[in-house]
Symmetry: C2
Subunit: 212 residues, 2 copies
């Protein structure tokens, strides 16, 4: 594949297209136009065509895109044809909640293990998965060379979890902690910040009132 540098926004949209195409496939649709894809994802059809044309010419003029082919191509671009296993650090309410609710129907991801450092929790069950000791992390990450780790530890323990993961060779991390974590440049970190989302919502809700 050609090395194209592309914005994160575009990647995020590709993820949405993929999700949308999977649903279309289930509904038994074979063809989708940029228009349909666009209205499903809440953006303009021009944006859809632009995103896709960066990587190749996947469509047919006059008809649209073949659902199956486009999905394959997008998964190729994203690298999600066979998604990496996901591990969870922290068997508290969020960690277990994520584990139990699972990731089915989201593109093939699966939680493959959950870890905690609290001896009381080690060995207990989250759904049908047994909680392992964080001391086992190095083994797992090295065995499966590619792993995504989700940090769902209690406030304050984020950096410790992160350091452990980095030491074990983990290169991709999704953190639910609010602390900004220090990491080497070659490790990718993303954050799920519920409180920031709430701030954005509060702002737009109250701003709307003022403007009324």
């Amino acid at each position: 594949m050609i090395a194209v540098k592309v914005s994160e926004k575009s990647i995020r949209r590709l993820s949405h297209y993929a999700r949308c195409l999977r649903l279309a496939k289930i509904r038994g649709e074979f063809i989708m136009t940029s228009q349909q894809l666009a209205s499903n994802c809440g953006i303009s059809s021009a944006a859809v065509r632009r995103d896709l044309s960066i990587y190749g010419e996947f469509g047919k003029q006059g008809s649209g895109y073949k659902v199956d082919d486009l999905l394959t191509n997008i998964q190729n671009i994203l690298g999600t044809t066979d998604p990496p296993p996901v591990i969870i650090i922290g068997a508290g309410s969020i960690g277990c909640g994520l584990m139990i609710s699972g990731l089915t129907g989201t593109g093939g991801y699966e939680y493959s293990a959950i870890y905690d450092k609290d001896p009381e929790k080690i060995g207990s069950l989250c759904g049908d998965m047994q909680v392992r000791s964080t001391e086992e992390i190095p083994e797992l990450v090295k065995k499966k060379t590619e792993v995504i780790a989700v940090i769902a530890v209690t406030s304050g323990a984020g950096q410790e979890a992160m350091d452990m993961l980095v030491a074990a060779g983990c290169k991709a991390i999704l953190s639910f902690t609010l602390e900004p974590l220090k990491v080497p440049d070659d490790v990718e970190v993303r954050y799920v910040e519920v409180s920031t989302e709430l701030d954005v919502l509060t702002h737009s809700m109250r701003r709307k009132e003022v403007l009324k």
Copy 2:
């Protein structure tokens, strides 16, 4: 306050500054420079000054920003001086997980209730909060005119929950469902999409390998 139209990106950054300032306050710091704020949030100092200067002149040349004053001003801008109550729809593993883990230390938000439509769950406990019937939603939303609702229902039930909230007059919603939900224009919706974050991480992890 003057009606300034401003990007969501900027609002999101203001939320980060606020968080950072709260921590500084706890550490007992009185003054912060744009430089310090910037490195804490992982952006440039110019961006910080730009964001803040949109709303006023909060700093003092030569010294920086007074932590307490700036925090007050930002909370004023965001409308988060006294944050609205947050309710959760769906007492499954994610909903209960969120409820139990709470929102302390994130800017004053608090979960004020959790709802489910499953009669088996109604009356049971999530942490120390009793699960209510979704039929009670209209009352609560109307009583407290401003509420943020978090949708954490099982896949497929998202739109139903949304319709109920909209009918009850709720204007701000944070959804953990993957389905794109239909809403009136005056209702603000934001999504937490774990699987999209995983896609972005997978992409950057595997792309890095290819480029190496």
